[in-house]
Amino acid sequence: MSALTGRRVVLHDMTLRDGMHPKRHQMTLEQMISVATGLDDAGVPLIEVTHGDGMGGASVNYGFPLHTDEEYLRAVVPRLKRSKVSALLLPGIGTVDDLALAVDCGVTTIRVATHCTEADVSEQHLVAARKRGLDTVGFLMMAHMTPPEALAAQGKLMESYGANCVYVTDSAGYMLPDDVTARIDALRAALRPETEIGFHGHHNLSMGVANTLAAIERGASRVDASAAGLGAGAGNTPLEVLVAVLSRMGALHGVDLYKVMDVAEDLVVPMMDHPVRIDRDALVLGYAGVYSSFLLFAKRAGERYGVSSRDILVEMGRRKTVGGQEDMIEDAALDLARRARGE
């Protein structure tokens, strides 16, 4: 018997959305389809598909994808037997028009993501999702940057706009299990009992699985994970490892362990452009609390301007940047290069 014996938990796959970051949004339709159908066959109930920065993320700032959100969604959704598809939307990047497009493509879950203190920019999109009868999720990013009670107040706002599930999102992979426990507890105390709580982890401090377990133990019923951990920074909570651990703990997740292992090993690992692991830059993200998607941008800017990518990431932390501020990476690199020249 464990604390999780008999607990039901919905696993939400991130391979085809957060996993777009280490792929520089260049996944092919064939790769998307093969991974999605593999996950479907393994019994993963929910799969997210979009640009890494959500609907409308195609940009100079975040990278242009190989295909549009619409092309990816129309390729994947019709091929799934049981799994449902979700789309991510960041207000300020995507709009309600993108949400409507996702629904037209067959998406049934919309996740509206804001920085952990700015939930009120999600009203327009959460209301629209609720009105359409969608599974409506609020996604509070960089949740380590605000104390538990303040986070809970933001979650309540999202609930008031129509979210039936609110996420604690550890975008920087900064949290330790106690940080997760405190935030899930605060949300659980603030939200209506029927409102679900979710957790999204990054593995920058190797805490993906441990944090996810802490979240489930305190009442999270949806958790994000990614096959072979494919995701920004050192990746997300590795799905196949989480499934193995949850199985041993007796939690009810409905996913076939061997099949997700095979998706990870046979499909996802071969398509990695670089090993998604805790290298020193990813470790800095977790240590300094910096947005995981900055990783490759910092490496590229570091090379281009002859400065250390680690220094760039630390500077991004010092500037108190939040998710989406990829433009400031080149700005920081230029400043650091100028400083190094003694100007």
Binding site: N61, I93, V121, V322, D327, D335
Partner: protein, 297 residues
């Protein structure tokens, strides 16, 4: 010299900051402030400054338009209210400077197209958005040198400078700003991104402007054009500065700017709002100058 009398509709942050700036103007005399809440801080301040106020909305102003010779009105209310205000005031010959997202009239980004609007004597001009005022001049600085196939702007603003109206309808910001990047900036296709950052102390507005040129960028000409445009904007927003760039990376041309406000009514970090009020005032002044010179005030 005689100044042109103006009314400010809306007694919130924008209206009040505008009042502070307009009182220093050589050409504009703000004589009325219109609000809807008798107890508002903005109306109290206006009253203290000796400006006439009404809390009955634009209907409270209408009976005085002719008697007080109000020729220009700034509207800092909401898109919905602006439509009504514009109808009522324009039929009395009052020129409207629209700071709401209503955009009944054409977009006005002073250093880019104010002269053209001035020549055509537009009666209603829309000031786009704070992000538009801060970034469209930089898109234009590239597109006036050579064709731009794509323009993308990223506006990062402090959480404290974003009011509830913008938050409730953030899509309006991204749509309006993207449209201005195309229509005024001259990019064939435009995209706008807004990021709200809650850091304390609040960060000063930062904007990143990416352009993709059709052909290889003519670097020296673009650098000179950007330098000139920065100076143009600095004429009415002294805290508008080039932080980095232009960076040339293939056909990508990127400039990084910062917008520090004057700190009139709003704190300096709210350059995001300041650039709106300063641009609106600059627009009004251009028309006022002609009115005064032609003796039509």
């Amino acid at each position: 010299m005689k100044k042109v009398k103006a009314a400010i509709i809306g007694s919130g942050n924008i209206g009040t900051d505008l009042l502070f700036k307009a009182r220093r103007s050589e050409w504009i005399d703000p004589v009325w402030v219109v609000g809807i809440d008798a107890a508002s801080d903005g109306l109290a301040r206006a009253r203290q400054l000796g400006v006439k106020v009404t809390h009955e909305g634009v209907d409270g102003l209408l009976p005085h338009v002719d008697g007080d010779e109000v020729r220009i009105a700034f509207d800092a209310t909401s898109a919905y209210v602006h439509r009504e205000n514009a109808r009522k005031l324009q039929e009395r010959g009052v020129r409207m400077i629209d700071l709401t997202p209503a955009a009944i009239g054409p977009y006005c980004i002073p250093p880019v197209n104010l002269q053209a609007h001035y020549d055509s004597q537009e009666m209603n001009l829309n000031m786009v958005s704070c992000g538009g005022q801060a970034t469209v001049p930089m898109v234009y600085a590239v597109s006036r040198v050579q064709p731009v196939e794509y323009g993308e702007i990223v506006a990062t603003v402090s959480s404290r400078s974003v009011g509830p109206g913008t938050r409730k309808n953030i899509d309006e910001f991204t749509r309006t700003t993207a449209a201005a990047v195309e229509k005024v900036g001259g990019a064939a296709r435009g995209k706008a991104i807004i990021i709200i950052n809650p850091a304390e102390p609040p960060l000063i507005m930062r904007d990143t402007i990416h352009c993709r040129t059709v052909d290889a960028p003519r670097q020296a000409a673009i650098e000179e054009s950007v330098r000139q445009m920065i100076k143009e904007v600095q004429r009415y927003v002294p805290g508008y500065t080039l932080k980095n760039g232009p960076v040339f990376d293939g056909r990508r041309v990127t400039t990084f700017v910062e917008v520090e406000g004057l700190g009139d009514y709003l704190p300096k970090y709210a350059g995001t709002l300041d650039i709106m009020t300063a641009a609106a005032l600059r627009t009004a002044e251009m028309f006022a100058e002609r009115m005064v010179k032609e003796g039509r005030s």
